[in-house]
Symmetry: C2
Subunit: 80 residues, 2 copies
């Protein structure tokens, strides 16, 4: 079973990586770029087939390691 | 208009970040983790409303700055 975790900076939290991306794109002539925010995707391959259990375990992985919940939001999607 | 760009290591390309994540999770007791791969999400806010044009421009942004197409794949989704 596969779990895909999206981790993004919380709205309102300063995102210097995103600002750097937006600045670089404007500098290259992409003037339509108003702003950018950068986050992470983590794809996990898991040896467990119970979707409910997998979701709970991945939630714990996010809280304990993958995301910094003070400044980041995360969402989990499970694929068979 | 909003464009969301997903950038992931190409399959077959070594992904040391993903390996570190998988190793750390196993070390913490998440033994069901078989492997992990880590990529990026970039959310762009764009001052242009033509979906076709936006997609072409974002494709160029990916090829020229956002993704390293030798080792990374990217996909673009557009939201109003």
């Amino acid at each position: 079973m596969k779990a895909i975790v999206h981790i993004r900076p919380r709205s309102g939290v300063l995102d210097p990586q995103g600002q750097a991306v937006a600045g670089a794109l404007k500098h290259m002539g992409f003037d339509e770029v108003l702003s950018a925010r950068q986050g992470k995707i983590i794809e996990l391959e898991l040896g467990d087939d119970d979707e409910q259990a997998v979701r709970q375990r991945v939630q714990k992985m996010c809280e304990h390691l993958l995301a910094n919940t003070v400044i980041e939001d995360f969402s989990i999607s499970i694929e068979p």
